[in-house]
Amino acid sequence: MASTACFIIVSRNDIPIYEAEVGSAVKKEDAAHQHQFILHAALDIVQDLAWTTSAMFLKAVDRFNDLVVSVYVTAGHILHIFKLFYTLTFLLFSQRGQSHKSTYKRSSFFVSLTAHIIHTRLMLLHDSRNDDGIKSFFQEVHELYIKVYYCILSTVLHLDAYLILLNPLYLPGSRITSSHFDTKVRALARKYL
């Protein structure tokens, strides 16, 4: 386990939506702030680098004082999934014989939802050089990240499509507040870092 590891998910709008100090070192507030400053600064590098490579995992894009920044860029995947869901629900509702009016309401909502959650960056500030572990960590977290969205989305769809609007997770660029997600991420950090 790395002594220092700061994990952050940055939304498309450069807003951190999840942050966690997953290192084993004793946490100091100042240090934590410094970590975030480094990660924030690294966004400049990532921004340029992401366009030069097709790889999602960009290892050691930036460093400062022995701390290295590795980034996992997710790009444009969720978009299609949402569209799929939209079509499915449309069929579902029309088969159930719901009135057309409500179906249209729902469908228009889904269209507006599709525009979000692309190009999210998972960023890790670490002092170890365990690239493979970091890569696995990123992949697992990404999967988890998508799952969280899936899970809630699918359950919500079966209940009532309107609940999505009330769920803070589905507002674009809002913070991930799920404690379940947090626990899982920390477990993954212990496993891989």
């Binding site: 709008n13 450069d14 807003i15 951190p16 942050e19 702030h33 975030q36 400053f37 480094i38 924030h40 600064a41 966004l43 400049d44 590098i45 340029d48 680098l49 030069t52 930036d62 460093r63 400062f64 004082n65 507006s112 525009a115 803070p168 507002l171 674009p172 660029g173 809002s174 913070r175």
Partner: protein, 1028 residues
């Protein structure tokens, strides 16, 4: 020539250097090993000396402006340094050669050259690193040379395309920082790195290193360093999105952007909202702001400290503990103490202010657009009115932003704003007022204090001072000792961000304030002064409490409170129960015009209280038991006086060219508050009729021969009171009809009722008119109804009947029978139908039931409905004549001896043959065939003509007389009676109509065509005198 001079100078210089060499001086730098030189090293040093000298000469050549010469010397130096392993000087010479190369090819952009430079500089860096000697690393290090070279290369390459390489170089340089011993060296390094990253466009990187610089400054414990730190941090604020509004030119464009979207109807796309909050990394922002605050405090810059604390508190209060919030509040206050009073700061602190609403003009001050081309200039103007909802504006809710608001010079206006203090301390706003940049508005400051975590809606007011548009971007607030401007739009976008989940918290919602829809700021324009009418009811503005039907005068006083005279005014009525306003003194108002400022006019308005709704008659009666106050009228049922008024068409001093823009008029709505109490209540109304048989006499009491018989009356001259007891001209009997109104008095006062009937005055009989007056006075004594009692009031009705029995009254029947409905008859049907209704109305309108209550009020009962209801059921019986009218009279030729002088008029002697005539009049338009019969009954009602005990003998035919009566004519049938016993007898004529038609059947209310129709005349009394 310059080159020649330089060359000769150099030659001399070189000679001098070489000559100096003979002295055996060793050129030694601090970087060389400082240990005492061994002999070997002395030799080595001597060898190095030449190379070092060549390098120095090269430097001078470069300084002298001769890169070619410099290059030559550097080449020599490089060669020598390489041979002697003098890496440090090798790197120096190499650096010099790059300089010479670049100076030589100044202005050229050559990729080959660039590659060359890159290659050589990498070499330079490499050699500097190589020359690192462990033993003097403590004292002096080649590291700084290496870093400098790295930075130089980075600066040379610093372009967007090579960003990756440059970033790598700068990262390497930054790595070197931790090896630097001197903190100021590190500071300089970071400054340089930050600058290069900034040049590269890596804002966040630059900000990061700038912050490192600031931290290094802050480590130096002096105020100058703190000032530097503050300034450096101020530069990072843009990257961290925590700029002060004073420094950011971007925020201006930001607000403009929002402004334009405001104009587009406020519906911002969510994406554009998101973009507003991009890169909001709250942790970093708070740290940066806290550092700015710290450095500003240390630097002794209270304004900067205030600004930083304000930004920190305003943007990140949800992340700050209540203690921290209070700490920031005291920091704000402390900073403000060191500022001169009246200091302004661009960054607002607390509270959060949003626009709540623009109160509409009160109904009393409504502004109406004036159409100069029309007499009724207010017609067709926007239906604003006292009603917020109008169905016409409903559909246009989408362009709310186009809403117009008109303010008037000199008249105070109000704007509601909502303040929120989401922090855990009491917030005292010393003053707050609307900030208006257009300069034509005087805002009135007020002070507010807000409890922790509370929101409050306050009213801000002001007076427009001159004509023109007004924009209200926000409020000016004096809080925590500093004046700031709070822009509404910023809060709006903040709230929008909160709904998108982009902002930490909605300050209003966390204060428990309800969610408010976005208020669009209307276009406000200020117009020149208008007249302003203020109304009040003389004697108090409270509701007038009236009993149903009560008539009272209300005086409304109108005063012009404006500064412009009222030149036009028009009164109209609106609202419910408009007909309860009997009269309005329009003329009084008209004559008072123009109403000068300050002038006052009083208008009398006569009100008649309306009928309370008859929806719950049960309730009303049950309430009356409890002695009730009656039902109080709801506010909505009051009638309203609507006064449209306007000033002069062109304001004084204005050039007539502006004629096209007419100053608007205004509307004053004066609700006439009337509280109607239940007065007398009707229980029942019914029609009573009395029939008094006529006495037979020689002249029949009915004026058959008079043409307009329906209006003709025969008045018994002896008694005025009998004036309403009239002979029914068609029945031939004395008839009296009374309308009986049963009324109860549920109120707590006594009512006195007087009935007056305006008798129909026939123009040809003057004597009747005077009787009318007398009758009105005489006939109807007042009826007193005590509280909680009921009483009956009798209203005598005049007789009136239509002259002809006609098919028109049975339109329904005739249509059903599909008979006799020709076009011509349908015309007359309509006419007679209308005549019928008109005559009912006429009758009703002549009856007035006035009352006077114990409360000294008087009014009129609305009996129209009651009478109509009473009449409607029996209208046919009252109005329609019988098809046949029967009458008896004594035959004229025998009257002389039959009537004695002393006997009463019309009496008959017994034992005398009395010739009589029966008259039968046909009231229909068709010939009637019938068989007529006459009977005579005695007092006991027994038939005294036929039978065993007949006491009357007769001559002529008395039964089964077949006669035909032509339409509207009468026939006469003569007979004689011989009364054997004196006493009272009654003569009755009856007839069975043979050929019935529909009209007759309808009148008789029978359906079957076979049933014979039996007509019976009214009885005639015969008094037979004589001794038994």
């Amino acid at each position: 020539m310059m080159q020649d001079i330089a060359a000769s100078l150099l030659m001399e210089f070189e000679k001098w250097v070489l000559r100096a060499e003979s002295n055996g001086t060793i050129l030694k730098t601090p970087l060389d090993s400082q240990a005492s030189l061994s002999s070997e090293e002395v030799i080595k040093a001597k060898k190095r000396r030449l190379g070092r000298a060549q390098k120095t000469i090269g430097d001078y050549c470069l300084l002298a402006g001769s890169p070619v010469d410099a290059n030559a010397h550097y080449s020599t130096a490089l060669e020598l340094a390489r041979l002697t392993g003098d890496y440090f000087w090798y790197a120096g010479a190499l650096e010099g050669s790059v300089c010479a190369l670049l100076t030589d090819r100044m202005g050229q952009k050559d990729p080959v050259l660039e590659e060359e430079v890159k290659y050589r500089y990498n070499n330079v860096i490499l050699h500097y690193r190589k020359s690192f000697i462990q033993d003097n690393a403590q004292r002096v290090s080649t590291l700084s040379f290496e870093l400098e070279a790295t930075l130089k290369l980075a600066r040379f390459l610093c372009r967007r395309e090579l960003a990756k390489e440059v970033a790598e170089l700068l990262m390497t340089a930054a790595d070197g920082a931790k090896s630097l011993i001197d903190a100021s060296d590190r500071l300089i390094l970071y400054v340089e790195i930050a600058r290069l990253f900034g040049t590269l466009g890596y804002e966040r990187k630059a900000a990061f290193f700038s912050r490192e610089v600031a931290q290094l400054y802050l480590q130096q414990e002096n105020s100058l360093a703190a000032i530097s730190a503050m300034q450096v941090l101020a530069m990072t604020t843009k990257a961290y999105r925590v700029q002060s509004r004073a420094t950011s030119s971007k925020s201006l464009s930001f607000s403009n952007e929002i402004g334009s979207s405001h104009a587009d109807g406020w519906k911002m796309h969510p994406q554009s909202v998101v973009s507003l909050f991009e890169s909001q990394w709250s942790t970093l922002q708070m740290v940066v702001l806290r550092e700015i605050l710290l450095s500003a405090l240390r630097a002794g810059d209270p304004l900067a400290a205030w600004s930083a604390a304000a930004r920190l508190l305003r943007s990140y209060y949800p992340l700050i503990t209540p203690t921290g919030q209070s700490g920031l509040a005291s920091a704000l206050s402390n900073s403000a103490e060191r500022l001169p009073s009246g200091t302004r700061c661009a960054d607002p602190a607390l509270p959060f202010i949003r626009l709540h609403s623009f109160p509409l003009h009160r109904a009393q001050m409504d502004i109406v657009k004036r159409d100069p081309g029309r007499e009724e200039w207010w017609v067709g103007s926007a239906p604003s009115g006292p009603f917020i909802y109008t169905p016409f504006s409903k559909g246009e809710s989408t362009d709310d932003s186009k809403q117009e608001l008109t303010w008037i010079v000199g008249e105070p206006v109000q704007v509601l704003v909502e303040l929120a203090n989401p922090c855990g301390f009491d917030l005292r706003v010393d003053s707050i007022y609307l900030s208006v940049h257009s300069g034509n508005f005087d805002a009135f400051p007020i002070s507010v204090s807000l409890a922790p975590n509370s929101a409050k809606v306050i009213t801000l007011s002001g007076i427009p001072t001159s004509v023109g548009p007004v924009t209200i971007p926000g409020c000016t607030v004096h809080c925590f000792g500093v004046i700031t401007e709070h822009i509404f739009r910023e809060v709006d976008s903040l709230l929008l961000g909160a709904t998108q989940g982009l902002v930490l918290s909605d300050p209003f919602r966390c204060c428990g304030s309800a969610k408010l829809r976005n208020i669009s700021v209307p276009n406000i324009s200020v117009v020149p002064p208008l007249p302003l009418l203020v109304s009040h009811v003389v004697g108090g503005d409270g509701a007038a409490i009236l009993y149903e039907g009560e008539i009272r005068d209300v005086w409304i006083s109108l005063a012009n409170a404006g500064s412009v005279p009222v030149e036009q005014a028009h009164i109209s009525l609106s609202g419910k129960n408009q007909d309860s306003v009997i009269s309005v003194a329009y003329e009084t108002l008209k004559s008072a015009l123009p109403l000068k400022p300050g002038a006052e006019v009083t208008l009398p308005v006569t009100l008649k209280a309306w009928q309370l709704g008859l929806v719950y008659p049960d309730n009303a009666t049950s309430k009356s038991v409890s002695g009730s106050t009656g039902r109080v009228s709801k506010d909505g049922s009051n009638p309203m006086l609507v006064i449209h008024y306007a000033g002069p068409l062109a304001s004084p001093g204005e050039t007539p060219t502006n004629e096209s823009v007419v100053p608007p008029g205004r509307r004053l709505v004066v609700p006439l508050h009337v509280c109607v109490l239940q007065g007398l209540s009707f229980v029942k109304a019914r029609l009573l009729s009395m029939e008094i048989p006529a006495h037979i006499s020689e002249n029949l009491p009915k004026p058959v021969y008079v043409e307009n018989s329906s209006t003709e009356e025969v008045v018994a001259p002896e008694c005025k009171a009998d004036s309403l007891v009239k002979i029914d001209p068609y029945r031939g009997s004395w008839g009296l009809r009374l309308l009986e109104l049963e009324m109860s008095n549920p109120t707590d006062v006594v009512f006195e009722i007087s009935v007056s009937v305006q008798l129909e005055t026939s123009k040809n009989e003057d004597s009747l008119t005077c009787i009318d007056h007398d009758a009105a006075e005489f006939g109807y004594p007042k009826t007193r109804i005590d509280r909680d009692y009921s009483a009956r009031v009798l209203i005598p009705l005049e007789h009136f009947k239509l002259p002809i029995l006609d098919g028109s009254f049975f339109v329904k029947d005739s249509q059903a029978d599909e008979a006799l409905s020709t076009r011509s008859s349908s015309f007359s049907e309509k006419n007679t139908k209308a005549e019928l209704n008109a005559s009912i109305k006429n009758l009703i309108s002549r009856i007035k039931v006035r009352w006077q209550s114990g409360r000294n009020s008087s009014g009129e009962l609305n009996i129209k409905d009651a009478i109509q209801a009473a009449l409607q059921t029996s209208a046919m019986d009252i109005l329609l004549p019988d098809p046949l009218t029967f009458g008896f009279r004594l035959a004229k030729n025998v009257t002389k001896h039959a009537i004695q002088l002393d006997s009463p008029k019309g009496s008959i002697l017994a034992h005398d043959m009395t010739p009589m005539e029966v008259l039968v009049r046909n009231n229909t338009k068709e010939m009637i065939k019938m068989s007529l019969s006459i009977t005579c009954r005695d007092v006991a009602g027994e038939n005294c003509i036929e039978g065993n005990k007949a006491t009357v003998l007769w001559a002529g035919v008395l039964s089964g007389i077949s006669v035909e009566v032509p339409p509207l004519q009468e026939i006469k049938h003569s007979f004689s009676l011989y009364f054997m016993v004196p006493g009272e007898y009654t003569l009755v004529a009856a007839a069975v109509i043979d050929d019935t038609n529909d009209i007759l059947r309808a009148r008789a209310k029978t359906d079957s065509p076979d049933e014979p129709i039996f007509c019976r005349g009214s009885p005639f009394h015969v008094r037979v005198l004589g001794t038994v």
